[in-house]
Symmetry: none
Subunit: 229 residues, 2 copies
């Protein structure tokens, strides 16, 4: 997840960047409003943390412009208590959330997670997926094979989600480890293989001769919604 922070107060900036980096976010920072706007528009970010009082261009104007050019980019405003708040509350500047200084890091993190969670309609595309006699519902965490319910663990759902997002492509074990397990690299164990084994047992007609979750020797695995290839 790539975050951009536009904030001119060095000490706040430092604290924010350290904490967010520690949480695993990729963080870019910039102190000037106009340059910040440019950067936000020209590069990809998943979230923007935006101070209201800035040199160059104020946060209010930046937010307005962002929402006009890149409505999909979520923005969290950082404001001082009191009168600044009014503007934000009173005027419809389109920010997704805001925090009043001083704020606690846990609260900031919670709001970031919440905003990111909300701004994910891709999740909805994937709410349901079917192949062969298998039906997967990622919202309900429900799976059926031939209309009979099958229990999949949340990790197994997670793997299937990744497969579906990369349907037809070869995905390396390492990709799966990163996407499903996080970066906690487990060197060279059969963890992934075992999960695949379980999935095949549950979803394939003949687990030992899989038609959809096939392995590509020397490379990884490949998911095909249609049997064949």
């Amino acid at each position: 997840m790539d975050l951009l922070i536009i904030e001119d107060d060095i000490s706040i900036l430092r604290g924010l960047k350290d904490n967010l980096t520690f949480e695993g976010y990729q963080v870019q920072t910039i102190g000037d409003g106009l340059e910040g706007l440019k950067m936000a528009l020209e590069h990809h970010f998943d979230l923007l943390l935006l101070d209201l009082m800035l040199p160059g261009m104020n946060g209010y104007e930046i937010c307005r412009r962002i929402k006009k050019e890149k409505p999909g980019l979520p923005v969290i405003m950082l404001t001082a208590r009191g009168s600044e708040m009014d503007k934000i509350a009173g005027l419809d500047i389109g920010a997704d959330d805001y925090l009043t200084k001083p704020f606690s890091i846990p609260e900031l993190l919670a709001r970031i997670r919440a905003v990111l969670r909300r701004s994910k309609p891709e999740y909805d595309h994937l709410a349901e997926f079917s192949f062969a006699n298998v039906k997967l519902d990622f919202k309900k965490f429900q799976a059926t094979v031939n209309d009979t319910e099958i229990k999949l663990s949340s990790k197994e759902f997670s793997i299937m989600k990744y497969f579906i997002e990369h349907e037809g492509e070869v995905v390396q074990r390492e990709d799966l480890l990163e996407a499903v397990w996080g970066y906690d690299i487990m060197p060279d164990t059969r963890t992934v293989d075992n999960s695949i084994l379980d999935l095949r047992k549950k979803l394939e007609e003949i687990p030992s001769d899989p038609k959809h979750i096939v392995s590509v020797r020397g490379a990884g695995y490949k998911f095909n919604a249609q049997a064949g290839n």
Copy 2:
């Protein structure tokens, strides 16, 4: 639409009532804070207009109590400029919107419409909900199991409301924290689990083998109106 105005300044009150009545709202008014609170709690209203400075009990306290007992009732605060504003903005009193005096009637009307629009859907849909032998009345904050009244706390109602709005879907602990507790994040305690425990004790036939409020390991909880799935 029934509105309640709690405001002690007679001239303001008169103006408000006339204008709102003219717009087609049913308007009740009351000048004392404590009595206003009582009235708001004991009768049905769709919206509360609440002055901050009041005899009997100040608006801040009233709002807090309302939001605790009747979280679904929208509140618009009326405040004087300046320092009063800070309190509202700074403290999390849970008001849905606020206006600073003097305000224009068109603005007031716009904000009333906006607040009603926002708060309408769930409030009405969810007036009542039944599943198994459980009946929940979110307007009266009443719950019965096998037609026997059961006491649910407002937090518990709030959780059930969220569950019902997301029936069948897996909701993460964090979703619940955000929706029910707000962002006063409690890092990683068993608060949510304990609330679930309490709910199951009250609503499930066999609390240790829940049929409706089920947990999804590694993901969160899921509410099913029908047992099974």
